[in-house]
């Protein structure tokens, strides 16, 4: 309230809550996603929303943003009941949202996406110059680095995220909803975002912030509302609470933050990469340059690095999604450099992809259909070309049970309607359960709640102990340090260092990731 609010209804500033959602109920087939939830957002505060995967956070925010209409309950802006029927209404009321899964037009440039819907024009002709200046200005002030002319389909997930944030800032919204914005950012970027959020709050903007990372809540939020299985559990002041209390409020039990694991016992080499080079789609240089290393059965090797340093292209080359320019990939001694994706899938590679919507799922298929995405042709699931739907369903039910994938209608749920975390859990379940020699897991815990992360890390370690090689690609320093047996740091497409997680520190890792330090043995 420090800064006078001129643009949006003066005089109403007396009312402490800029937004109030009262007794909101929203249902989907087979599930009550929001069950009588009340949320009060104070002006200028950062309000965190915490809850397990599928607790109903995104749904609640979508109701506020006009994407869903609640069955019961009211929304109040500055103490007055408002009708929000679509995102345009929300925009008029100064409510902006960055979605968990971005809503960008792939074939448009970053700038075009930002101004989409509010294009500046003179007599119907686009005048992008002003818009560009504003975007560049916002981008500089808040450190949201984007290339305004790159096509969205060519940029990294991280940059897409920044585009989304800019989109909201560009519209001068006063209530900002962030649905898991940090899930895809690097630690440095997260720190910057926290700074941005604090700055915005100081300017009188009110922020609703969904995250599964308790550290972030502790660092930046003023208050936190906890949901569990669609129900309101409570709202707490952050200064009076602890991480442990929050997590037990959310999950209903205590959560371990560090998983136990035994010493690794590396055996034969499963993956060997020799001088691998991969073309970049963005620039003329290689995205991956001369990368060589080995991963053995029974160890977890982590590729750490800041987003956009070639990890995506590297993984795509390993899994066959992108062609290799030069070099070799050996899987259990066999050269698979130019083998098909199907061949690699059926010869021991499991792949948890970075982008669950683009690659991981056919969103309009049911959960059951998605569970057999790489296996539908196995004799177990088909005879003479006819799919055995009963068996598919049985198998899917089994995975759902084992990995606690939650959705309204179990196997029959359409993947699109599932919560982000549960979509991820479904992919993880599918990939872990497929027979594999090598598990390539890219950000496997992205978007998962603390309980689910604990579960997935346990599963990855179990997979290692059962003799598979694990290649973990993560931007998450905690994950890198806790789960891996060996760390390779990737910087500008090259491996610049090999570290032992037990002997190194986060600071040292950070130096490598930023390119400030590299192993002497690399040619310089």
């Amino acid at each position: 309230m420090a800064a006078p609010d001129t643009s949006h209804g003066a005089g109403t500033a007396e009312y402490p809550y800029v937004i109030e959602m009262r007794h909101i109920t929203k249902e989907f087939p087979g599930i009550i996603a929001n069950d009588d939830i009340t949320l009060q957002l104070k002006r200028g505060e950062i309000h965190a929303l915490l809850g397990e995967n599928g607790a109903g956070k995104s749904t609640l925010m979508s109701v506020l943003f006009g994407l869903y209409k609640q069955e019961k309950g009211d929304i109040l802006k500055n103490g007055e009941v408002v009708e929000i029927n679509d995102p345009n209404d929300a925009n008029r009321l100064g409510i902006g949202m960055v979605h968990q899964h971005f809503k960008l037009v792939d074939v448009f440039s970053v700038l075009d996406n930002i101004i989409l819907g509010v294009e500046p024009n003179v007599a119907g002709f686009l005048t992008k110059k002003k818009a560009r200046e504003k975007v560049m200005h916002l981008s500089e002030t808040y450190g949201l680095n984007v290339d305004p002319d790159a096509l969205v389909e060519d940029i990294t997930v991280g940059m897409q995220q920044r585009t989304e944030i800019l989109k909201m800032l560009y519209r001068d919204n006063e209530v900002l909803i962030f649905d898991e914005p940090t899930a895809v950012l690097t630690p440095q970027e997260i720190d910057e975002l926290m700074e941005i959020m604090r700055g915005l709050a100081k300017e009188g903007k009110s922020i609703l912030f969904i995250t599964h990372k308790l550290n972030e809540i502790m660092a930046v939020a003023d208050r936190c509302t906890v949901l569990r299985k669609g129900k309101y559990i409570g709202t707490v002041d952050i200064k009076d609470t602890t991480k442990e209390e929050l997590s037990s409020m959310m999950v209903g039990r205590d959560v371990k933050f560090v998983v136990d694991k035994d010493e690794a016992d590396p055996k034969e080499v499963v993956l060997e990469v020799e001088n691998l080079c991969v073309h970049s789609k963005l620039h003329k240089k290689d995205a991956v340059h001369n990368v060589s290393f080995k991963v053995r059965a029974g160890e977890i090797v982590c590729i750490a690095g800041i987003d956009g340093n070639g990890q995506t292209e590297f993984v795509h080359a390993l899994t066959g999604l992108e062609p290799v320019r030069d070099g070799k990939i050996l899987l259990a001694g066999e050269d698979v450099t130019h083998k098909s994706i199907r061949y690699r899938n059926t010869h021991g590679i499991s792949h948890i992809p970075e982008d669950r919507h683009k690659h991981g799922l056919v969103l309009d298929y049911t959960l059951a259909d998605n569970m057999v995405l790489q296996r539908y042709f196995e004799p177990r699931f088909q005879t003479a070309g006819f799919i055995k739907f009963d068996e598919v369903r049985r198998y899917s039910d089994e995975l759902i049970e084992k990995f606690d994938v939650r959705s309204g209608q179990g196997s029959a749920s359409i993947a699109r309607g599932m919560s982000g975390g549960n979509q991820q859990k479904a992919i993880v379940a599918r990939e872990m359960d497929r027979e594999h020699k090598l598990l390539i897991a890219v950000q496997p815990a992205r978007g998962l709640d603390v309980g689910a992360i604990e579960n997935i890390h346990t599963q990855i370690i179990k997979s290692r102990d059962e003799g598979s090689a694990v290649l973990l690609v993560s931007l998450e320093l905690d994950e890198v340090m806790n789960v891996s047996d060996r760390i390779l740091v990737m910087y500008e497409g090259e491996i610049v260092g090999e570290l032992d997680p037990k002997k190194t520190t986060v600071q040292e890792l950070g130096l490598y990731m930023a390119g400030a330090k590299r192993d002497g043995k690399e040619e310089e």
Binding site: P29, I32, K229, K231, Y365
Partner: protein, 414 residues
Amino acid sequence: MMFTTGTDKSIDRKTGLLKSPAGSALRSIIASVCCILGGMLVGTIILFILAFTTKDIPISDAVKGMTIIFGGPFASGSKSSTLFVLGDMILETTPLLMTGLSVAIAFKTGLFNIGAPGQYLMGAMGSLITALSVPTNGSNNFWVWLLALVVGIACGMIWGAIPGIFKALFNVNEVIVCIMCNWIAANVVSWVFSVSGDRFINYAETKTKFIRPTSTNGVSTPKLGLDKVFPGSNIDIGIFIAIIFAIGIYILINKTTLGYELKACGMNKHSAKYAGMNEKRNIILSMVIAGGLAAAGASLWYLNGKNDFLWNTYSSLPNDGFNGIPVALLASNNPIGVIFSATFLRYIGKGGFNLAGYTHFNEYVSNLIIAMIIYFAGFSKLISDLLGRRRKKKTIEAQSAAVIAENTEGGDDK
């Protein structure tokens, strides 16, 4: 765990599995009926406006108008004429059904097969040449017929493969290639028949614009007594063959691994690639199947033995090829639905024809009215979704009541 207990899930699963297909079928029927009524209403209004504003058209024609259109083949009132028209209507439905299937299966793979007219022409050419040039001796006629059908389908498959290959290998938009292939087909067919001269052209009856009907070589689709049921009409068993194709395509799409792949490619080609599916092969395959289906429509039509083929066709494309598009769209690309949407379009097509015959409205008006009805039928998907939302809400209320009841007994921990 209120959402994940075993019992809870099995109930949901049952409702999800058993209820929704039947429910959605009912929903789409209600929706279609609503839309057709809407189309009739607007059509009637147009007829009245025209009747009021045009001197030559009496108001009584506008009053009769809709009953004639929706009377379809029954409009004449006399039994013998009705059966005759009905039989021909069924016969004419066959090619439309096939091109509808052709467009529908391509749509399932995310491809827009606007090339059905060309595939149709190639099928006609293949079948006619085979049926007219393989000698028959009275006992092999059926086999020549079958061969002609197969050759026709094969020609369409090849023609369908062309846009498929361009799309898969060179990423050229299939719509552009399809349109070009249509005109190439029209010219190829004209050229082939013009150079083959008197071997196929109907000089006997001095209908030199046409190819001889296949019955002149003793080749025609079996009738199995249908001509007795619909006296005077040319109906044959082609419609049953088309329905069998529809069922076959339904099974292919919904029950087989190939269908699973085709749909996956259509819905999300990135994840299909990730899953190791051969996207290029699937695109080509889908177009090959689509081409074969469209061609089968032509083959069944001309192998009837009585239908004339206008060979000098370089400047026009067969309507039934294009009409496959609304047929597929009306059926939401469901192969079983295509049977009904094709029949529906033919039915009101007959009605429109009668409108021009029995009233002072001309054929342009009847085409306009039919187009209105088709447009309105297109809204049925929208309405069906709206109905679905309401239905869902009701079941949710019941379900949530159950969940709440269970939960309050179970005692929540907070």
